[in-house]
Symmetry: C2
Subunit: 256 residues, 2 copies
DNA sequence: CGCGATTTGTGCACGTCTTCACAAGCGCCT
DNA sequence: AGGCGCTTGTGAAGACGTGCACAAATCGCG
């Protein structure tokens, strides 16, 4: 029937089924689709159209179809996508068929919350160890897990198949922790510390910086404010501006 | 001297100094530059080259120069950028010259951590209120702030100039909270709940989903694993594959 | 059995982002 | 004063991502 073939293995019939190498943008959206699909499955839907799924995931429907087509997806024209099948496929592509072990380093304010966050457990991950450098925190029990000292990392890595690490330490400690993680074979790091990590090639780092997100929002606030204020106040708004670049720039323009 | 003009106000001489409308990608990087610059300032640097700053921020130096040029930046050729001046400019563009008030809704696991996170305070924000719908949490004191009931939101908004809200509730409550925030005039929302929010036009929403970040890393893990495994095992790897799409696809290819 | 309604998958054009490479500008040294 | 080395700012090209619009495919119904 369907002559479907992966984009990743185009010509060679019977070629090894390497993962199609998806565009990064697509990969970043797949988890969102997955979440929406689980919701749909829980509410009894068996199939869903690209229109319906894209609405649930908050994206354009054409984009969704293109994304799914990249993974050689099985929709049926005139009907839509089989929810269960699509879940299975996306979970396979994302490597979620096995529950991945994650080491969480840094049990401070944020690390504490992460340790208790159900979202990790419910979406394919298992916190295999809580680690901290602070001896006074070692031994503390959080959510059924005991905090161990960071020096136990090699032991933990030996006992578990540990590929992913989460860094929730202060920025000053992050690089050292990253080095330790890499040393025991971790090849993916989720970094919550506000700093740049340098890691060897082959190691993936994703960064989440809560303050940065707010600062981006702040920019848009600033922009919205300046847009709505100016048409009303006209040139008078000039005097309200801080010294920075805008004033300099503007003064030159006026001086001409 | 410098005939500099904002891209945002191209032709009109003496035009109102609207913010240059920066590319979204640039906006997302400015906070990172800002953080790097603060580090440099703290370590006594007065100027920095694009090479140096880009290294500290973890980006390409050409990209950094282009980003900075977008905001009509003042570097000096042969020397570099004045650290203090650049900080001032970026902070102005990001709207951080005023300390912005933020309402944090949802004081569960994550909200608790966010309430205690210094990064907000140290980077231009002030948590103006902690709110929760759970009456048993109301009255609790976190980091010097008392948790108030979500119904007090209008009161809070009236007392403060409140433009930014952070949602750290369970997904089920997020949409309702978003509506309430919008109703009191919030125009930027940072959403930690794993769901899509629908908001009126003019309201910005940024989403942070911790599990999604891990799932993206998981994909890369999966990919790395399949890349290193296949050349060694060859076609035998076929039998090791899960039932999902790969098997279906492959079996068809084999069956032919 | 054929037709129309519906929905997927995708070619194409457009816009955005990235990167290279280099001219223009600046300071320093002689 | 002049030249030299360094660094910025930017034009142009290419890679990437997006969205439209439509042909191809499937189902259900008469």
């Amino acid at each position: 029937m369907s002559q479907h073939r992966h984009p990743g293995a185009p010509g060679r019939a019977g070629a090894v089924p390497t993962l199609p190498d998806l565009p990064e943008a697509t990969v970043a959206r797949l988890p969102e689709y997955l979440r929406a699909l689980h919701n749909l499955a829980d509410t009894g839907h068996e199939t869903v159209s690209s229109e319906g799924l894209s609405a649930a995931a908050g994206v354009n429907s054409a984009k969704l179809r293109k994304d799914l087509s990249h993974l050689g997806s099985y929709g049926t024209r005139g009907v839509g996508y089989d929810v269960a099948l699509l879940i299975e496929q996306i979970e396979y592509v994302l490597g979620l068929t096995q529950r991945r072990a994650v080491a969480l380093v840094g049990v401070g304010n944020l690390g504490h919350a992460l340790a208790g966050y159900d979202g990790f457990a419910s979406r394919g991950f298992r916190i295999a160890a809580l680690l901290d450098a602070d001896a006074s925190r070692v031994g503390e029990e959080i959510n059924g897990l005991v905090v161990r000292h960071i020096d136990d990392l090699p032991t933990v890595a030996a006992a578990e198949s540990l590929a992913i690490g989460v860094i929730a330490t202060p920025a000053a400690a992050a690089q050292q922790v990253a080095d330790q993680l890499v040393a025991v074979g971790v090849t993916s790091i989720l970094n919550f510390a506000p700093c740049v990590l340098s890691v060897p090639e082959g190691v993936d780092v994703r960064k989440v910086d809560l303050a940065i997100e707010l600062q981006i929002l702040s920019f848009h606030e600033h922009r919205k404010a300046s847009l709505t204020a100016l048409p009303a106040t006209g040139g008078a708004a000039l005097t309200a501006l801080p010294g920075g670049f805008a004033a300099t720039d503007t003064q030159e323009a006026i001086g001409t």
